[in-house]
């Protein structure tokens, strides 16, 4: 039985030592290089007395960075990735929660990493050539269980204090196996990674790469500003698979790059974390009629993604893209407000059970106990489920549909309104690119932000035809671009603050 994610790396390095595992395009590392340097890093960390604790990685996106991750795991520790683009206040708040003793940095970030004042500051280049102590690493492995943590990923907490989700080998192995099976990745898969390494999102590329001997290219962040260059990059490296946030895909389609510059090798497009605006989704489907499209859904707290829907049927015009069915060995329960199973077709809170459920929030038992709770349908024994705070329902096809996050469901003028419904109505309007709705609870106003060629008057006209009166936004705000979070998703928190300040 596999109990450690490094077994993926070890088997593949033996089978395909010279194959490129990770690359930026300019610089690459083979599986044997990744394994060799990871063992060296692990040896050095263990020799410094680090064990069963967090190690911070402060490095730019590069094959070395993920090699450092595996090095930390070789030492029997767990990694936490920071990024130069993170505000210092966020870094400080993460470190306060984590209280780490060691950080590994690349040359570029070494000065900043040193300023963190930790007990050990390692320069990656200094430790990646350490002579491997096989006996020491074998000893560490013998003492490890598959319930030992691998990483802590910090999500933004609603209170402003980041929450660190702790995941173990068992959950990540479970996720890797079920994701690979559901999406049909194999040794010939060539991924282009978009998401930052300090989230759980890149596991979708990193883990199948290790397991299957596939290859992952880290796309330079800058290219996401230049759709035609981005498509050229995909073609140059014969990228056949992308798992991107919706906003990154929309960036290509909305600037009109898809028609003249269709990615030549792309056969799998997985997207998630956000609702795909239908018009943009249709543009992608039309541009790549032979590609497979997958909608993914899941929280960091359940190790990345939990559900998937393969686009194997046409959707009616106003039908939301389903999130489909849970991955193998994952179960979804919809709970109503009485903590009973919601009736078939009725809405309920999406709750997740299975090995994918993570170990909770680091050093934060209160928040952990709020979200990771005893399954209310079980009283005779202990079973923890994760409450996502998202509302879902099953459609006529028996597929799970994401309705809204609880935060996006409002009570307005006595009506329960889903802001997402207003958004998709707006996006169906002529000349509307993307629309985001927020609710200002103080002024009791629905505010709609949008981008596109249309004007307020036309859009309001279209909404009036499509929605009941109580759902009409009090204000429309046309923007030249919608603000994004670090992960590339629409920044709703920021828009909410805009809506509040403009009063």
């Amino acid at each position: 039985m596999q109990k450690n994610i490094l077994e993926y790396l070890e088997k593949t390095a033996e089978r395909l030592p010279e194959k490129i595992a990770f690359s930026t395009g300019k610089e690459s590392m083979s599986f044997s290089e990744v394994q060799g340097q990871a063992r060296s890093v692990g040896t050095r960390l263990a020799a410094s007395g680090l064990s069963g604790e967090s190690v911070v990685i402060f490095m730019d996106k590069h094959p070395r960075t993920v090699t450092a991750f595996w090095g930390v795991i070789y030492a029997g520790c767990f990694y936490v990735c920071l990024d130069e683009k993170m505000p210092r206040a966020r870094i400080d708040s993460i470190l306060e929660n984590l209280r780490p003793r060691a950080v590994i940095a690349d040359k570029k970030n070494f000065a900043t990493a040193s300023s963190l004042g930790l007990e050990h500051t390692f320069l990656y280049d200094d430790i990646c050539g350490t002579e491997c102590d096989r006996a020491a690493l074998a000893d560490i492995r013998r003492r490890q269980c598959d319930t030992d943590p691998i990483y802590v990923v910090f999500t933004s907490g609603s209170t402003g204090v980041p929450k660190g989700v702790v995941a173990c080998h068992r959950s990540v192995i479970d996720y890797t196996e079920s994701l690979t099976q559901a999406l049909g990745f194999d040794e010939n898969t060539v991924f282009a990674n978009q998401t930052p390494l300090y989230f759980d999102a890149p596991l979708k590329e990193l883990m199948p790469t290790l397991k299957l001997g596939a290859t992952t290219y880290f796309v330079p962040r800058m290219l996401f500003s230049f759709p035609v260059r981005l498509v050229e990059y995909l073609d140059t490296y014969k990228i056949n698979t992308v798992c991107w946030v919706v906003s990154a895909l929309v960036q290509i389609s909305s600037l009109g790059a898809l028609e003249a510059h269709t990615p030549k090798y792309l056969t799998k497009v997985a997207f998630g974390s956000e609702v795909f605006p239908r018009k943009q989704y249709d543009l992608w489907r039309a541009a790549l009629p032979n590609a497979e499209f997958y909608n993914l859904y899941g929280p960091t707290e359940a190790t990345g993604m939990s559900c998937y829907w393969k686009a194997d049927r046409e959707l009616s015009e106003d039908e939301p893209i389903p999130v489909g069915t849970p991955f193998d060995n994952t179960d979804i329960i919809l709970l109503d407000s009485d903590n009973k199973r919601a009736e078939l077709g009725a809405e309920g809170e999406i709750c997740i059970r299975g090995t994918c459920v993570t170990m909770g929030y680091y050093n934060n038992p209160e928040r952990t106990d709020e979200a990771f709770v005893q399954n209310p349908l079980v009283s005779a024994y202990r079973e923890l489920i994760y409450r996502t705070g998202d509302i879902g329902r099953y459609n006529a096809h028996g597929e799970l549909v994401f309705v809204c996050s609880k935060d996006n469901q409002i009570k307005h003028m006595g009506h329960r309104i889903e802001l997402g419904e207003i958004e998709s109505a707006a996006e169906r309007g002529e000349g509307v690119g993307r629309a985001v709705c927020v609710y200002n609870a103080d002024s009791k106003e629905i505010v709609l932000f949008y981008v596109g060629e249309t004007e307020d008057k036309q859009l309001l006209g279209a909404l009036t035809c499509a929605l009941p009166r109580y759902m009409l936004p009090a204000r429309l705000v046309k923007m030249t671009a919608l603000p994004l979070t670090d992960n590339g998703k629409i920044n709703r928190t920021y828009l909410k603050s805009l809506a509040a300040n403009e009063n």
Partner: protein, 75 residues
């Protein structure tokens, strides 16, 4: 050109766009800025920048961007 500098300064008040070069290579402008600029240039100058012209070379300085707008306007 003045109008363009004003537009850019609104995005990043701390940058001197009259002299700054390598706006892309130095990471001054991010993808959100690009989308925003493309849309504002459309509405302010009446010039639609096609996807083929949305490349780093045309956005690295205010001068390069202005040259692009002028060229597209003449075409």
């Amino acid at each position: 050109m003045e109008k363009l500098i004003e537009m850019l300064t609104e995005l990043h008040p701390d940058v001197d766009f009259a002299t700054a070069e390598d706006l892309i290579d130095d990471g001054v402008l991010d993808s959100l800025d690009i989308v925003s600029l493309v849309s504002q240039i459309d509405s302010e100058f009446g010039v639609t920048i096609p996807a083929e012209e949305i490349i780093p070379e045309n956005f690295n300085s205010a001068e390069a961007l202005f040259a692009l707008i002028t060229r597209l306007d003449e075409e």
